[in-house]
Symmetry: C2
Subunit: 194 residues, 2 copies
Amino acid sequence: MARTREFDFEKAIDKATKLFWLEGYKKTSIQKLMKTMGLGESSFYNSFKNKRDLYLQCLKYYNSNITSRRAEALNSPKPIQKKLRDLFNVIFDDLESGTGTPGCLMTNSLSFEVLKDAHLRKYVLGEMDNFRLFLKNTFQQAIENDELSVDFDSILTSELVVTYLQGLFKISMTTTDYSQLRKQTEYFLKALGL
Amino acid sequence: MARTREFDFEKAIDKATKLFWLEGYKKTSIQKLMKTMGLGESSFYNSFKNKRDLYLQCLKYYNSNITSRRAEALNSPKPIQKKLRDLFNVIFDDLESGTGTPGCLMTNSLSFEVLKDAHLRKYVLGEMDNFRLFLKNTFQQAIENDELSVDFDSILTSELVVTYLQGLFKISMTTTDYSQLRKQTEYFLKALGL
DNA sequence: TTTTATTTGTAATAAAAGTTACAATTTGAT
DNA sequence: ATCAAATTGTAACTTTTATTACAAATAAAA
Protein backbone atom coordinates (compact mmCIF):
# COMPACT_ATOMS: atom_id res chain seq x y z
CA MET A 1 0.00 0.00 0.00
CA ALA A 2 2.70 2.45 0.96
CA ARG A 3 6.40 2.78 0.55
CA THR A 4 8.39 1.23 3.39
CA ARG A 5 10.83 3.11 5.56
CA GLU A 6 14.40 2.74 4.43
CA PHE A 7 16.14 3.63 7.68
CA ASP A 8 16.18 1.74 10.96
CA PHE A 9 13.98 3.68 13.34
CA GLU A 10 15.56 2.49 16.58
CA LYS A 11 19.07 2.95 15.26
CA ALA A 12 18.19 6.51 14.34
CA ILE A 13 16.83 7.16 17.83
CA ASP A 14 19.97 5.64 19.29
CA LYS A 15 22.20 7.92 17.25
CA ALA A 16 20.10 10.95 18.14
CA THR A 17 20.17 10.02 21.83
CA LYS A 18 23.94 9.86 21.86
CA LEU A 19 24.22 13.16 20.03
CA PHE A 20 21.84 14.90 22.43
CA TRP A 21 23.74 13.32 25.30
CA LEU A 22 27.02 14.66 24.00
CA GLU A 23 25.93 18.09 22.90
CA GLY A 24 22.91 18.92 25.03
CA TYR A 25 19.40 19.73 23.96
CA LYS A 26 19.66 23.29 22.82
CA LYS A 27 23.07 23.05 21.22
CA THR A 28 22.18 20.08 19.04
CA SER A 29 20.96 21.36 15.70
CA ILE A 30 18.52 19.53 13.51
CA GLN A 31 21.03 19.61 10.71
CA LYS A 32 23.56 17.73 12.81
CA LEU A 33 20.85 15.39 14.00
CA MET A 34 19.83 14.61 10.43
CA LYS A 35 23.42 13.99 9.42
CA THR A 36 24.08 11.76 12.44
CA MET A 37 20.86 9.85 11.98
CA GLY A 38 21.47 9.56 8.25
CA LEU A 39 18.21 11.24 7.34
CA GLY A 40 17.19 14.00 4.98
CA GLU A 41 14.72 16.71 5.84
CA SER A 42 11.81 14.73 4.46
CA SER A 43 12.42 11.60 6.45
CA PHE A 44 13.19 13.59 9.56
CA TYR A 45 10.10 15.75 9.60
CA ASN A 46 7.99 12.87 8.39
CA SER A 47 8.98 10.63 11.27
CA PHE A 48 9.49 13.18 14.03
CA LYS A 49 7.39 16.24 14.54
CA ASN A 50 10.20 18.45 15.69
CA LYS A 51 13.26 18.64 17.90
CA ARG A 52 11.34 18.54 21.16
CA ASP A 53 9.38 15.47 20.14
CA LEU A 54 12.53 13.72 19.09
CA TYR A 55 14.19 14.63 22.38
CA LEU A 56 11.27 13.21 24.29
CA GLN A 57 11.54 9.98 22.35
CA CYS A 58 15.27 9.89 23.06
CA LEU A 59 14.68 10.37 26.77
CA LYS A 60 12.22 7.50 26.76
CA TYR A 61 14.68 5.36 24.83
CA TYR A 62 17.40 6.26 27.32
CA ASN A 63 15.21 5.44 30.28
CA SER A 64 14.14 2.07 28.99
CA ASN A 65 17.75 1.15 28.20
CA ILE A 66 19.84 2.81 30.88
CA THR A 67 17.78 4.11 33.77
CA SER A 68 15.65 1.00 33.98
CA ARG A 69 18.66 -1.08 34.95
CA ARG A 70 19.13 1.14 37.97
CA ALA A 71 15.67 0.41 39.29
CA GLU A 72 16.28 -3.26 38.57
CA ALA A 73 19.30 -3.19 40.86
CA LEU A 74 16.96 -2.18 43.68
CA ASN A 75 14.47 -4.81 42.69
CA SER A 76 16.25 -7.89 44.02
CA PRO A 77 15.93 -10.12 47.08
CA LYS A 78 19.32 -8.94 48.37
CA PRO A 79 19.76 -6.96 51.61
CA ILE A 80 19.29 -3.23 51.34
CA GLN A 81 23.00 -2.47 51.71
CA LYS A 82 23.77 -4.71 48.77
CA LYS A 83 20.94 -3.29 46.69
CA LEU A 84 22.33 0.21 47.02
CA ARG A 85 25.82 -0.90 46.14
CA ASP A 86 24.40 -2.70 43.12
CA LEU A 87 22.65 0.52 42.15
CA PHE A 88 25.84 2.56 42.32
CA ASN A 89 27.84 -0.15 40.61
CA VAL A 90 25.45 -0.12 37.67
CA ILE A 91 25.81 3.65 37.54
CA PHE A 92 29.60 3.65 37.74
CA ASP A 93 29.86 0.87 35.19
CA ASP A 94 27.75 2.95 32.82
CA LEU A 95 29.90 6.01 33.46
CA GLU A 96 33.12 4.09 32.91
CA SER A 97 31.97 2.28 29.80
CA GLY A 98 30.30 5.32 28.30
CA THR A 99 32.12 6.30 25.14
CA GLY A 100 32.60 9.90 26.12
CA THR A 101 28.94 10.43 26.93
CA PRO A 102 28.85 12.76 29.90
CA GLY A 103 27.01 11.98 33.11
CA CYS A 104 23.39 10.97 32.88
CA LEU A 105 21.09 12.19 30.13
CA MET A 106 18.25 12.66 32.60
CA THR A 107 20.38 14.69 35.00
CA ASN A 108 21.71 16.67 32.07
CA SER A 109 18.10 17.37 31.20
CA LEU A 110 17.70 19.03 34.58
CA SER A 111 18.81 22.25 32.91
CA PHE A 112 16.92 25.43 32.30
CA GLU A 113 16.85 24.98 28.55
CA VAL A 114 14.95 21.74 29.09
CA LEU A 115 12.96 22.61 32.22
CA LYS A 116 11.54 25.70 30.56
CA ASP A 117 9.70 23.54 28.06
CA ALA A 118 6.53 22.46 29.84
CA HIS A 119 6.27 19.10 28.08
CA LEU A 120 9.88 18.13 28.68
CA ARG A 121 9.75 19.43 32.24
CA LYS A 122 6.77 17.30 33.08
CA TYR A 123 8.39 14.17 31.73
CA VAL A 124 11.82 14.69 33.31
CA LEU A 125 10.50 15.64 36.76
CA GLY A 126 7.97 12.82 36.59
CA GLU A 127 10.63 10.22 35.92
CA MET A 128 12.81 11.62 38.68
CA ASP A 129 9.93 11.43 41.06
CA ASN A 130 9.23 7.85 40.09
CA PHE A 131 12.78 6.89 40.88
CA ARG A 132 12.71 8.67 44.23
CA LEU A 133 9.46 6.92 45.12
CA PHE A 134 10.91 3.58 44.14
CA LEU A 135 13.89 4.24 46.36
CA LYS A 136 11.67 5.29 49.24
CA ASN A 137 9.58 2.15 48.91
CA THR A 138 12.75 0.08 48.85
CA PHE A 139 13.78 1.59 52.18
CA GLN A 140 10.34 1.12 53.67
CA GLN A 141 10.37 -2.50 52.62
CA ALA A 142 13.77 -2.91 54.30
CA ILE A 143 12.31 -1.51 57.51
CA GLU A 144 9.46 -3.99 57.33
CA ASN A 145 12.00 -6.78 56.82
CA ASP A 146 13.87 -5.62 59.94
CA GLU A 147 16.90 -4.80 57.82
CA LEU A 148 16.69 -1.18 58.93
CA SER A 149 15.62 0.40 62.19
CA VAL A 150 12.10 1.74 62.43
CA ASP A 151 13.74 5.12 63.08
CA PHE A 152 15.27 5.09 59.61
CA ASP A 153 13.92 8.06 57.65
CA SER A 154 12.99 6.57 54.28
CA ILE A 155 11.68 9.80 52.84
CA LEU A 156 14.60 12.01 53.79
CA THR A 157 17.14 9.37 52.81
CA SER A 158 15.58 8.75 49.43
CA GLU A 159 15.60 12.48 48.74
CA LEU A 160 19.18 12.78 49.90
CA VAL A 161 20.33 9.91 47.71
CA VAL A 162 18.63 11.48 44.70
CA THR A 163 20.34 14.79 45.44
CA TYR A 164 23.67 13.02 45.81
CA LEU A 165 23.12 11.23 42.51
CA GLN A 166 22.56 14.54 40.76
CA GLY A 167 25.81 15.82 42.19
CA LEU A 168 27.62 12.62 41.32
CA PHE A 169 26.63 12.84 37.67
CA LYS A 170 27.76 16.44 37.51
CA ILE A 171 31.09 15.71 39.16
CA SER A 172 31.57 12.71 36.90
CA MET A 173 31.85 15.13 33.99
CA THR A 174 34.91 16.76 35.51
CA THR A 175 37.03 13.70 36.11
CA THR A 176 38.01 10.32 34.76
CA ASP A 177 39.11 8.98 38.15
CA TYR A 178 35.97 7.11 39.01
CA SER A 179 37.70 5.04 41.69
CA GLN A 180 37.86 8.20 43.77
CA LEU A 181 34.13 8.72 43.28
CA ARG A 182 33.42 5.10 44.16
CA LYS A 183 35.26 5.63 47.45
CA GLN A 184 33.27 8.79 48.05
CA THR A 185 30.03 6.93 47.45
CA GLU A 186 31.01 4.17 49.87
CA TYR A 187 31.82 6.85 52.43
CA PHE A 188 28.44 8.46 51.79
CA LEU A 189 26.50 5.23 52.22
CA LYS A 190 28.39 4.34 55.39
CA ALA A 191 27.64 7.78 56.81
CA LEU A 192 23.96 7.09 56.23
CA GLY A 193 24.30 3.82 58.09
CA LEU A 194 23.85 1.79 54.93
CA MET B 1 41.97 62.32 24.38
CA ALA B 2 39.32 59.76 23.62
CA ARG B 3 35.58 59.61 23.83
CA THR B 4 34.26 58.32 27.16
CA ARG B 5 32.08 55.26 27.52
CA GLU B 6 28.41 56.11 27.76
CA PHE B 7 27.21 52.91 29.45
CA ASP B 8 27.98 51.64 32.95
CA PHE B 9 30.39 48.76 32.53
CA GLU B 10 29.57 46.95 35.76
CA LYS B 11 25.85 47.36 35.28
CA ALA B 12 26.20 45.85 31.83
CA ILE B 13 28.12 42.89 33.25
CA ASP B 14 25.49 42.50 35.93
CA LYS B 15 22.69 42.39 33.36
CA ALA B 16 24.62 39.93 31.21
CA THR B 17 25.35 37.72 34.21
CA LYS B 18 21.69 37.48 35.09
CA LEU B 19 20.74 36.72 31.51
CA PHE B 20 23.37 33.98 31.21
CA TRP B 21 22.22 32.65 34.56
CA LEU B 22 18.64 32.50 33.38
CA GLU B 23 19.16 31.22 29.88
CA GLY B 24 22.43 29.32 29.98
CA TYR B 25 25.57 29.92 28.01
CA LYS B 26 24.76 28.50 24.63
CA LYS B 27 21.14 29.55 24.51
CA THR B 28 21.86 33.20 25.24
CA SER B 29 22.27 35.00 21.95
CA ILE B 30 24.43 38.04 21.50
CA GLN B 31 21.43 39.91 20.17
CA LYS B 32 19.55 39.31 23.40
CA LEU B 33 22.66 40.17 25.40
CA MET B 34 23.04 43.45 23.57
CA LYS B 35 19.41 44.32 24.12
CA THR B 36 19.55 43.42 27.83
CA MET B 37 22.81 45.26 28.35
CA GLY B 38 21.55 48.22 26.35
CA LEU B 39 24.38 48.09 23.85
CA GLY B 40 24.65 48.19 20.10
CA GLU B 41 26.96 45.98 18.09
CA SER B 42 29.73 48.56 18.15
CA SER B 43 29.83 49.01 21.90
CA PHE B 44 29.47 45.32 22.48
CA TYR B 45 32.27 44.13 20.26
CA ASN B 46 34.38 47.09 21.27
CA SER B 47 34.20 46.29 24.96
CA PHE B 48 33.96 42.50 24.85
CA LYS B 49 35.84 40.33 22.43
CA ASN B 50 33.08 37.79 22.03
CA LYS B 51 30.52 35.74 23.88
CA ARG B 52 33.03 33.50 25.60
CA ASP B 53 35.03 36.43 26.91
CA LEU B 54 31.93 38.09 28.21
CA TYR B 55 30.87 34.86 29.88
CA LEU B 56 34.23 34.58 31.58
CA GLN B 57 33.89 38.11 32.88
CA CYS B 58 30.39 37.30 34.12
CA LEU B 59 31.65 34.21 35.94
CA LYS B 60 34.31 36.30 37.64
CA TYR B 61 31.75 38.92 38.54
CA TYR B 62 29.48 36.21 39.94
CA ASN B 63 32.27 34.68 41.98
CA SER B 64 33.37 37.94 43.52
CA ASN B 65 29.78 38.80 44.43
CA ILE B 66 28.09 35.51 45.24
CA THR B 67 30.54 32.67 45.65
CA SER B 68 32.95 34.68 47.73
CA ARG B 69 30.39 35.02 50.52
CA ARG B 70 30.31 31.25 50.78
CA ALA B 71 34.01 31.03 51.48
CA GLU B 72 33.62 33.89 53.95
CA ALA B 73 31.10 31.83 55.90
CA LEU B 74 33.82 29.24 56.42
CA ASN B 75 36.32 31.91 57.35
CA SER B 76 35.13 32.72 60.85
CA PRO B 77 36.21 31.85 64.38
CA LYS B 78 33.05 29.79 64.95
CA PRO B 79 33.06 26.04 65.51
CA ILE B 80 33.13 23.88 62.42
CA GLN B 81 29.52 22.78 62.79
CA LYS B 82 28.39 26.39 62.84
CA LYS B 83 30.64 27.30 59.92
CA LEU B 84 29.01 24.68 57.73
CA ARG B 85 25.53 25.77 58.71
CA ASP B 86 26.51 29.34 57.91
CA LEU B 87 27.72 28.17 54.53
CA PHE B 88 24.47 26.44 53.70
CA ASN B 89 22.43 29.31 55.10
CA VAL B 90 24.20 31.73 52.79
CA ILE B 91 23.47 29.39 49.91
CA PHE B 92 19.81 28.88 50.78
CA ASP B 93 19.32 32.59 51.36
CA ASP B 94 20.73 33.24 47.90
CA LEU B 95 18.48 30.61 46.39
CA GLU B 96 15.40 31.98 48.12
CA SER B 97 16.10 35.61 47.35
CA GLY B 98 17.15 34.93 43.77
CA THR B 99 14.66 36.53 41.43
CA GLY B 100 14.05 33.44 39.40
CA THR B 101 17.73 32.82 38.78
CA PRO B 102 18.18 29.05 38.81
CA GLY B 103 20.67 27.28 41.05
CA CYS B 104 24.27 28.43 40.97
CA LEU B 105 25.86 29.93 37.90
CA MET B 106 29.07 28.01 38.52
CA THR B 107 27.26 24.70 38.88
CA ASN B 108 25.21 25.52 35.83
CA SER B 109 28.50 26.06 34.04
CA LEU B 110 29.39 22.46 34.79
CA SER B 111 27.71 21.54 31.54
CA PHE B 112 29.16 20.14 28.38
CA GLU B 113 28.54 23.25 26.38
CA VAL B 114 30.78 25.12 28.80
CA LEU B 115 33.25 22.37 29.71
CA LYS B 116 34.04 21.76 26.06
CA ASP B 117 35.55 25.21 25.78
CA ALA B 118 39.10 24.84 27.10
CA HIS B 119 39.31 28.37 28.51
CA LEU B 120 35.99 28.21 30.30
CA ARG B 121 36.69 24.68 31.51
CA LYS B 122 39.96 25.68 33.07
CA TYR B 123 38.40 28.57 34.94
CA VAL B 124 35.31 26.74 36.17
CA LEU B 125 37.17 23.64 37.34
CA GLY B 126 39.87 25.79 38.88
CA GLU B 127 37.38 27.74 40.96
CA MET B 128 35.64 24.56 42.03
CA ASP B 129 38.96 23.12 43.10
CA ASN B 130 39.77 26.23 45.07
CA PHE B 131 36.55 25.92 46.98
CA ARG B 132 37.10 22.25 47.70
CA LEU B 133 40.60 22.96 48.95
CA PHE B 134 39.30 25.74 51.16
CA LEU B 135 36.75 23.36 52.60
CA LYS B 136 39.39 20.69 53.16
CA ASN B 137 41.64 23.16 54.96
CA THR B 138 38.72 24.25 57.10
CA PHE B 139 38.22 20.65 58.20
CA GLN B 140 41.92 20.12 58.83
CA GLN B 141 42.01 23.24 60.95
CA ALA B 142 39.07 21.95 62.96
CA ILE B 143 40.98 18.73 63.60
CA GLU B 144 43.95 20.71 64.82
CA ASN B 145 41.63 22.64 67.10
CA ASP B 146 40.30 19.37 68.52
CA GLU B 147 36.86 20.17 67.17
CA LEU B 148 36.93 17.03 65.06
CA SER B 149 38.46 13.62 65.69
CA VAL B 150 41.84 12.91 64.12
CA ASP B 151 40.05 10.10 62.28
CA PHE B 152 37.89 12.61 60.44
CA ASP B 153 38.56 12.32 56.72
CA SER B 154 38.94 15.92 55.58
CA ILE B 155 39.66 15.07 51.97
CA LEU B 156 36.79 12.65 51.45
CA THR B 157 34.36 14.87 53.34
CA SER B 158 35.28 17.99 51.41
CA GLU B 159 34.80 16.09 48.16
CA LEU B 160 31.50 14.70 49.34
CA VAL B 161 30.21 18.11 50.39
CA VAL B 162 31.15 19.54 46.99
CA THR B 163 29.31 16.71 45.27
CA TYR B 164 26.29 17.26 47.49
CA LEU B 165 26.35 20.96 46.70
CA GLN B 166 26.25 20.23 42.98
CA GLY B 167 23.23 18.02 43.53
CA LEU B 168 21.60 20.58 45.78
CA PHE B 169 21.85 23.29 43.16
CA LYS B 170 20.38 20.99 40.54
CA ILE B 171 17.51 19.92 42.76
CA SER B 172 16.87 23.53 43.75
CA MET B 173 15.82 24.15 40.15
CA THR B 174 12.97 21.68 40.43
CA THR B 175 11.29 22.99 43.55
CA THR B 176 10.39 26.11 45.48
CA ASP B 177 10.08 24.31 48.81
CA TYR B 178 13.50 25.12 50.15
CA SER B 179 12.51 24.26 53.74
CA GLN B 180 12.47 20.64 52.65
CA LEU B 181 15.96 21.01 51.23
CA ARG B 182 17.17 22.73 54.40
CA LYS B 183 15.97 19.71 56.37
CA GLN B 184 17.73 17.41 53.95
CA THR B 185 20.96 19.36 54.38
CA GLU B 186 20.72 19.19 58.15
CA TYR B 187 20.18 15.44 57.86
CA PHE B 188 23.19 15.20 55.58
CA LEU B 189 25.47 17.13 57.94
CA LYS B 190 24.33 15.12 60.96
CA ALA B 191 25.02 11.90 59.08
CA LEU B 192 28.57 13.11 58.52
CA GLY B 193 28.90 13.77 62.22
CA LEU B 194 28.92 17.51 61.70
C1' DT C 1 -1.52 -3.44 -13.59
C1' DT C 2 -3.30 0.25 -11.71
C1' DT C 3 -4.06 2.61 -7.57
C1' DT C 4 -2.87 4.55 -3.23
C1' DA C 5 -0.43 5.77 0.73
C1' DT C 6 3.78 7.05 2.32
C1' DT C 7 8.63 7.76 2.04
C1' DT C 8 12.52 10.21 0.12
C1' DG C 9 15.59 13.86 -2.41
C1' DT C 10 16.17 18.41 -3.82
C1' DA C 11 15.26 22.86 -3.41
C1' DA C 12 13.40 26.87 -1.49
C1' DT C 13 11.97 29.95 2.28
C1' DA C 14 12.31 32.61 6.26
C1' DA C 15 14.12 33.86 10.47
C1' DA C 16 17.89 34.31 13.68
C1' DA C 17 22.66 34.58 14.87
C1' DG C 18 27.36 36.22 14.87
C1' DT C 19 30.41 39.38 13.00
C1' DT C 20 32.43 43.18 10.33
C1' DA C 21 32.62 47.83 7.96
C1' DC C 22 32.47 52.51 8.11
C1' DA C 23 31.21 56.95 8.97
C1' DA C 24 29.65 60.07 12.59
C1' DT C 25 30.36 61.44 17.33
C1' DT C 26 32.56 62.60 21.49
C1' DT C 27 36.32 63.73 24.64
C1' DG C 28 40.57 65.37 26.68
C1' DA C 29 45.31 66.65 25.49
C1' DT C 30 48.13 69.71 22.58
C1' DA D 1 40.43 75.29 18.19
C1' DT D 2 42.33 71.29 16.57
C1' DC D 3 43.84 66.68 16.72
C1' DA D 4 44.11 61.88 18.13
C1' DA D 5 41.87 58.05 20.11
C1' DA D 6 38.16 55.68 21.35
C1' DT D 7 32.96 55.08 21.30
C1' DT D 8 28.64 54.69 19.03
C1' DG D 9 24.75 53.99 15.29
C1' DT D 10 23.45 52.08 11.09
C1' DA D 11 23.78 48.88 7.85
C1' DA D 12 25.49 45.10 5.57
C1' DC D 13 27.24 40.38 5.08
C1' DT D 14 27.70 35.52 6.00
C1' DT D 15 26.31 31.36 8.32
C1' DT D 16 23.42 28.71 10.58
C1' DT D 17 18.98 27.12 11.78
C1' DA D 18 14.31 25.41 11.45
C1' DT D 19 10.77 24.42 8.44
C1' DT D 20 7.98 23.81 4.19
C1' DA D 21 6.96 22.63 -0.80
C1' DC D 22 6.75 19.50 -4.26
C1' DA D 23 7.79 16.09 -7.36
C1' DA D 24 9.87 11.46 -7.86
C1' DA D 25 10.24 6.84 -5.96
C1' DT D 26 8.50 2.74 -3.80
C1' DA D 27 5.75 -1.07 -2.08
C1' DA D 28 1.72 -3.55 -1.30
C1' DA D 29 -3.48 -3.73 -1.94
C1' DA D 30 -7.23 -3.59 -5.32
